[in-house]
Symmetry: D2
Subunit: 126 residues, 4 copies
């Protein structure tokens, strides 16, 4: 989160929204935002959604996350919205959608689906 | 590539190796390398492997890429090795494995599988 | 579709629902419906959703499809509902959710995300 | 396994090979083997590879499995070869490759990557 500068916009249990102001150094060779940035923000949103259901001393690790890139990401901000599909004691499954926004116009640029593991007693250090 | 500072180590048709010197700003909250960095280097290696078979004026876009994180990534360098499993006219399928290395010791930290699309006439601008 | 006996319940452009009456021979070793049946019905629903936007002479091939299993599948029927996330000229991205139903009670048992390719002139022979 | 008629060809710890004689009822609309059959045999091989490292009273459940279809599957037999990439106490990550064979000629038709969970005390009933 620090490297990219992403910030939590809103968070309710099982739904989290993260926003990231786009900067030139996050672009890849074709002038679009690098897919790795979309993957990271999708992962962050899903991880926070998982975290929101856990005890304060527990942490979250990403087991796996697949992303499909739907459209080139261009704009002022990148937004990720995550939703829990299954919240288990050990494993959580979350979907995370990424949008590129300019003003109030949003384009759906990526969708991700992944698995997250609860790490008992391993709280985030942030 | 620029943001992270990754570099191509070696490249033969259908097999590419990329290396990245690890830095504190690439770490996530548990002191390990952020999974987004592993995803990005896996994607880069697979994209370069795809590119290596194309005409100079053609480019590559990632359609989708799934990553499984196998172990925490800690070390001096992150290395991604990609291999083409199918090289089609339009779509290429590649596997990319990521290793964290300290000296000559390597740990397999992630494995990725994805689909890449040839963009005729859209060469990389780098 | 023939081996399993799945049937289309409803279909509108970009959203398709498929139903399958469950039978003992579709169960795996723990008494639940085999995950391969869930994958197949998820794939079928997404493929039909893709097909619904194409010309009659065009066909659809699955490029890749990932499934996350959310809960054991037990019940009278298995239902898959697919939704298109991106409908391109060549590639379509679809999400497909699978539910096990007994009477009017549904359990969300699996979620899938995949990529489908248009095959111009290769219409389904069914 | 019963519905499809797949059989274990060989199994060593962390590597399993499964074979399936192809039959007309496993074909889809284009005359090729249905992708669901490839997914199922890939899943079975990876599940058996995971099982091979467990105590006899423990079972295996598929958490998620992604498959990329590389070529149309046609032939006399379908073969899946699985390999463990990470064998943890709870979670195992496996790769599974599927080949269509006619005589001694093999075509690589699919590759899968997935996560499997150990179910302590839940042995397979087969």
């Amino acid at each position: 989160m620090n490297l990219l500068g992403a910030q939590i916009i809103s968070a309710t249990p099982v739904a989290v929204e993260i926003g990231l102001e786009l900067r030139p150094d996050l672009e890849q060779q074709h002038g679009f935002i690098h897919a790795g940035v979309a993957w990271t923000i999708a992962d962050n949103a899903a991880g926070f959604a998982t975290q929101s259901l856990l005890a304060v001393e527990d942490g979250v690790l990403t087991v796996e996350l697949k992303i499909n890139l739907l459209a080139p990401a261009k704009g002022q901000r990148l937004i990720a919205r995550a939703q829990l599909l299954r919240a288990g004691r050990r494993l959580t499954v979350a979907r995370s959608d990424v949008y590129a926004a300019t003003g109030s116009t949003e384009t759906h640029v990526a969708t991700a689906l992944g698995t997250f593991m609860t790490m008992n007693g391993l709280a985030d250090k942030t």
